[in-house]
Amino acid sequence: MKILVPVKQIASLDDQFEMRDDGRDVDEDYLEKDLNEFDHFSVEEALLIKEAAGDEVEVVVAIVGDDDADDALRTALAKGADRGIRVWDDALANADGTSIARILAKLVEREKPDMVFTGAQSSDFGSATTGMALAGLLGWPHAAVVSNLEYKPGASSATLRRELEGGLEEVMTIKCPAVLSIQLGINQPRYASLRGIKQAKQKPVDELSLDDLGLDASDVAPAFNVRKMYAPQRGKAELITGSAAEQAARLAQIIKEIRGM
């Protein structure tokens, strides 16, 4: 019994940043990389199932990314995932969620997992695409934004809750194997222990190219093209400057004015 958890290394911007010369992305120097917040929850959900089943479950984490992305993968391994797969090719520089889904579909063919958990979205671009696109390619049952899951390894169906707008949840049963996108708050993700971090360095990571998966660059062309990226118009906010005491004094004044005190 196996659970595949695809994870992403996200990028956040430094306080100050500049665009790349072609204007279609931020200059790499201003990006800070980390494991996607949502993926802490999807990894945790897989580990909880593994632990409840007494370890006969294998948790495999997969990432599409260059050498840099190894860190994010090791973070997931340090929490307790059994092994990793990293896929990269320079042709993936413009990859979007649909490109990643095409790679993951090949990994599912190879690994034959019983379940796939992704994060509900990534915290950098928030496309909420990869997991459900993967399900579409595989023709697998799928549900997005899963906030609760009852699943016994190997079962032919699971009961879950989808979190909808306004905090309403829908209870549904779903056939398995399935692709589920996991929502924040479904569990309390663990931190990796020091021992876990040490062990993660030794855990096996398969490194694969597009070629290894029988794909070429045209198979992973993105579903959109970025013409340009730019900072949004700011300037709407009136900046309150000065010392903290001065800023707070002005804030107090605003509060009193608006409340008619």
Partner: protein
């Protein structure tokens, strides 16, 4: 001359108003000679056709099936519509339901695709969409070269709901065969608010992950009390159990419906948080990061430490 199709969404037989927002987005890029159709899957789609027959809609495609949300069914409907009508554009609102079906429908049919689109326009014949990136800190203009059909999900609460009486013809479409893998078992309502009233509060002081530690929350409860505000929070604070869910502002929490003054401390301004508060007339953002996206919707901005500001603010009340 081509067709644009909006996929409207209902829940329990009631039309989601964001469907009307998606119609507005689609209407805005309709060119001379284009037709605009709206497809709705429901147990009684005819009953919803009237509400969808707004100005600019030429046809309502009524698919009689079930009120239950089944992503497999919607995907089959999209597949059939692409095959039969070869639309140039399909639009649906970026609801949680769309999260389930839109990516799958797009990839199965090889469509151009983007989610959470905030603006849509034509540049010549090209369709150009705008979406955000890097936690809302940048925008990007995107297009779809070589794609005959593009599927877009539109950010909710951005486009005005379409109105104006239309005169759409109603066409019935048989529900296509689909392998349905999910079954609705019931609803779970959010927990009782326990007297906390975010929707009814005129003044909300909200804290986000900048608060850093559960032990720091108490002082903001006291501060809110002192300045006469209701304490609100962003989602991670509620997820951690540091404050009850009833205090969470945003898409999966509460709408600050009566709020006139919203002071956000240590909140970055994610789209889901903004959903619950960006309409508020007076937003004050306190954040150490001058690039935090909350500043783009705030009326007043304080680049600074929420703890320092909080302890100074106390002295004025």
């Amino acid at each position: 001359m081509s067709e644009i199709i909006v996929i409207a969404i209902q829940r329990d037989g009631e039309l989601r108003s964001s469907s009307l927002e998606a119609i507005t987005a689609a209407r805005g890029v309709k060119q001379a000679g284009d037709t605009l159709s709206v497809a709705i899957v429901a147990a009684n789609p005819q009953g919803l056709a009237g509400a969808l027959s707004v100005e600019g809609v030429d046809e309502v495609i009524a698919v009689k099936a079930t009120d239950e949300f089944q992503p497999d069914l919607i995907e089959a409907v999209v597949g059939a519509l692409v095959a039969e009508r070869k639309p140039s554009l399909i639009v649906t609102a970026h609801t949680v339901d769309a999260w389930s079906f839109a990516p799958a429908a797009a990839i199965k049919n090889g469509l151009g695709f983007a989610t959470d689109v905030m603006a849509l326009r034509r540049e010549g014949a090209d369709l150009v969409a705008t979406r955000a990136g890097y936690a809302e800190k940048v925008l990007m203009d995107i297009d779809f070269p070589g794609k005959d059909t593009v599927l877009l999900t539109t950010r909710t609460n951005v486009f005005e709901p379409a109105s104006g009486q239309g005169s759409a013809k109603v066409t019935e479409m048989a529900a296509p065969a689909a392998d349905i893998a999910t079954k609705h078992e019931g609803w779970k309502q959010p927990a009782d608010a326990g007297g906390i009233d975010i929707p009814g509060s005129e003044f909300i002081l909200s804290i986000g992950r900048g608060v850093a530690d559960e032990a720091n929350v108490e002082q903001f409860l006291e501060l809110a009390d002192k300045v006469g505000a209701t304490l609100g929070c962003s989602r991670p604070i509620a997820d951690n159990g540091w404050l009850p869910k009833a205090r969470q502002v945003g898409q999966s929490g509460q709408l600050a419906a009566s709020c006139r003054l919203y002071v956000a401390m240590g909140v970055s301004g994610s789209v889901q948080h903004q959903w619950g508060m960006k309409h508020v007339e007076n937003i004050v953002a306190v954040n150490t990061d001058p690039e935090a996206s909350i500043f783009s919707i705030a009326r007043y901005g304080i680049v600074g430490d929420m703890f320092e500001i909080a302890s100074e603010l106390e002295n004025h009340f």
